[in-house]
Amino acid sequence: MKHLLSVDDLTLDDVGRLMELSDHMAEVNQRANPKVPALRGTTVCNLFFESSTRTRLSFETATRRLSGDVMTFAVSESSVNKGESLRDTIETVAAMGVDAFVVRHGSSGVPQQVCRWTSASVVNAGDGWHSHPTQALLDAYTVRTELGRNTGFDGLHLVVVGDIKHSRVARSVSRLFAKLGARVTFVAPTTLLPVDPEFDHTADLDGLIGDVDVLYLLRMQHERMSEALVPNLGEYTTRFGLTPERARRLREGALVMHPGPMNHGVEITVDPAELPGAVIGHQVSNGVAVRMAVLFDLLGSGAVAR
């Protein structure tokens, strides 16, 4: 692979290879000195046009554990608005000598545009409502390890609840899980669905809560109320939140996932610590291993797992 822009770029072989690499990286992360020299001499530029402490730290940690050099460039949106074009920014940074750009931007498609202006590898760290492939990979890795699903997700029922329309996480997770064989259902009011959803959808969470293998809750953005997409957060929680009543109806062994940061009391009103299937903390720790795997796959010698 040269770039990782979207889960659509990944073949099943790519996913399998990245999962095995992630196992290896997870093992590295367990060591007393969690560091390997795999990317020594390479420079990864984190280009974050949208603030995201979690994802940025995850990529920085991943790069450092592989002994790569990190250059972090948090560009305020306003400075770009002042007239510096995206292309100028990319070409300027690329000229300093960069092997990969990790790009986060509030506008869909920016990583694709960046590819046209640099010969470096580009990793999409989240663009607009479009795509967040490393999130989807770490979620797949989490399900694979938690449920022992090493050979795919056939028969697995993934239910994604919440603001599908504005969610790059929902787009990426649903497509990657479906690629691996899972059945996907979106649960949301029509206002929070794309006009043409790619998967089955319903607004009746109670109707399927007992038939879920992975319940994936999305973050509910407060500004959606002012856009008349939902009447108020209380009603949202009543219809779409993971309440104690719904949590009791979850099948034994069902996983509860969330990309973070979580709105406690909105999309979830139970304490995740009391949910045996909640693996939200594992998602975060797996994120470092999966991002190490991605960076190694794009930039490393490829000798480990191929």
Binding site: L86, S108, Q112, G128, W129, D196
Partner: protein
């Protein structure tokens, strides 16, 4: 020929095509006018048009020439040169300049700059409302007296239904045409591309078809109420074609145009997030493209109008949601139309020439017929020549063409403006 006669030019052996039909003939031009159409004509200069169509010059109802205020993207000189290369002898210059063409000084400036460039007639349009702000009417009477025929707030629609009704009532009797950019702004806030399967997949804010159709429906009903003619700009949806078809069947005085890109490109073009494909209204679906082609074929859509919208490269290198909408069109309209429309060449030329000439109110000077006494505003094109756009050779100051790498069929060879040979063998001479 006597020594005192003006120099004559003969366009020889072409397929002479106008609203009356097609015949192989020579056309002799003297002192800016057609003086003879027939066989075996002789002249001081002979332009061989064998295998080519000789037609009345094209008339574009919809070009953004950007001057005054947007000269880094286009000037009246560069835009009218691009128009001449595209076979146009007249273009309507959209009023969304800075300042807006809502008063006489701007309208006069646009006309004078067009005359100075002398590549084609530049017909200034004016805005319906002051500053295109949708609040107060522009002085229609004063502007009509200054020669403005077409009024539009293009770039945005007139949102207020009461104001639009008043505009139509007040325009009555002035022999002007109000042209609407149909878009209910509230429905397209933040919109980037057609709302449908593709935008759902790409996670890009959708631009619903109904935003266009609602305003079109409203305005058709206002035409029914007031009786004042209206022209509808750059229609992009199948339902819009149906609405206009029904309005015409009811005998309402409405006309409509389509842009070349809406006849060939779809929202799938945005899969790579390249802002060159971002345009207002947006590229729609295959079904819409088919309906628009059918609308041109059956005459529901009167004119092909370019919506030539130059933007400097840096503005198309922004993120998709921040890049301005619009694409070049003047130099490629004929090639696109002939490539994608499965209809007789005469019908394509009608939609590029005499039908828009009538809407623009310049049917006395443009759009033929090709007969003695008429102004020699003519285009000669090879309907079968295949070619590709070379961005560096465009006459436009901008490069935002979506047609790079696409085979186009049909290319302009010569353009004559009042007998002046402004484009020869495909190259602008001014």
């Amino acid at each position: 020929m006597s020594a005192t006669s003006p120099l004559s030019t003969v366009i020889a052996n072409g397929r002479v095509l106008d609203a009356t039909g097609e015949r192989v003939a020579d056309v002799r031009i003297e002192a800016g006018r057609i003086v003879e159409v027939g066989a075996g004509l002789d002249g001081d200069t002979v332009v061989d048009a064998s295998g080519c169509i000789v037609a009345p010059g094209f008339v574009d109802l919809h070009a953004h020439l950007r001057e005054p205020g947007g000269e880094q993207a286009e000037t009246i000189e560069s835009g009218s040169r691009a128009a001449a290369k595209g076979g146009y002898t007249a273009v309507v210059a959209m009023p969304n300049t800075d300042p807006t063409a809502d008063h006489r000084a701007v309208v006069d400036l646009v006309r004078l700059r067009g005359e100075a460039a002398a590549c084609c007639d530049v017909l200034p349009a004016a805005s319906i409302t002051i500053g295109r702000a949708g609040v107060e009417l522009s002085p229609f009477g004063e502007l009509a007296a200054a020669g403005v025929r077409l009024f539009t707030d293009d770039g945005t629609g007139v949102q207020d239904p009461l104001l639009m009704r008043r505009a139509l009532e007040y325009a009555s009797g002035l022999d002007i045409v109000l042209a609407q950019h149909c878009e209910v702004a509230r429905l397209t806030e933040g919109a980037v591309m057609h709302e449908g399967t593709c935008c759902s997949r790409l996670g890009v804010p959708g631009w619903p078809a109904i935003a266009e159709e609602l305003m079109l429906f409203r305005d058709i009903e206002l035409v029914r109420l007031t009786g004042t003619p209206m022209h509808f700009l750059h229609l992009s949806t199948a339902r819009s074609v149906e609405l206009v078809r029904a309005a015409k069947a009811d005998g309402l005085p409405v006309t409509a145009e389509v842009a070349p890109h809406h006849l060939c490109l779809t929202d799938e073009a945005l899969a790579g997030f390249d802002p060159v494909y971002k345009v207002n209204p947006p590229l729609r679906t295959k079904g819409d493209v088919a309906a628009l082609r059918a609308g041109v074929a059956d005459g529901t859509i009167d004119a092909i109008a370019t919506d030539h919208a130059p933007h400097p490269p840096a503005s198309k290198e922004r993120p998709l949601d921040r890049a301005p909408p619009g694409m070049l069109g003047l130099e490629t309209a004929l090639g696109v139309a002939l490539s994608v429309l499965d209809m007789p060449v005469a019908d394509v030329v009608a939609a590029l020439s005499w039908k828009p000439a009538a809407i623009a109110g310049v049917g006395d000077r443009h759009g033929g017929p090709i007969e003695p006494g008429r102004a020699a505003n003519l285009v000669v094109f090879d309907p079968d020549e295949r070619w590709q756009v070379v961005p560096g050779r465009l006459a436009s100051r901008s490069r935002n063409t979506p047609y790079v790498g696409i085979d186009l069929r049909g290319r302009v060879r010569h353009t004559f403006l009042r007998g002046d040979h402004v484009v020869a063998d495909g190259e602008a001479r001014r």
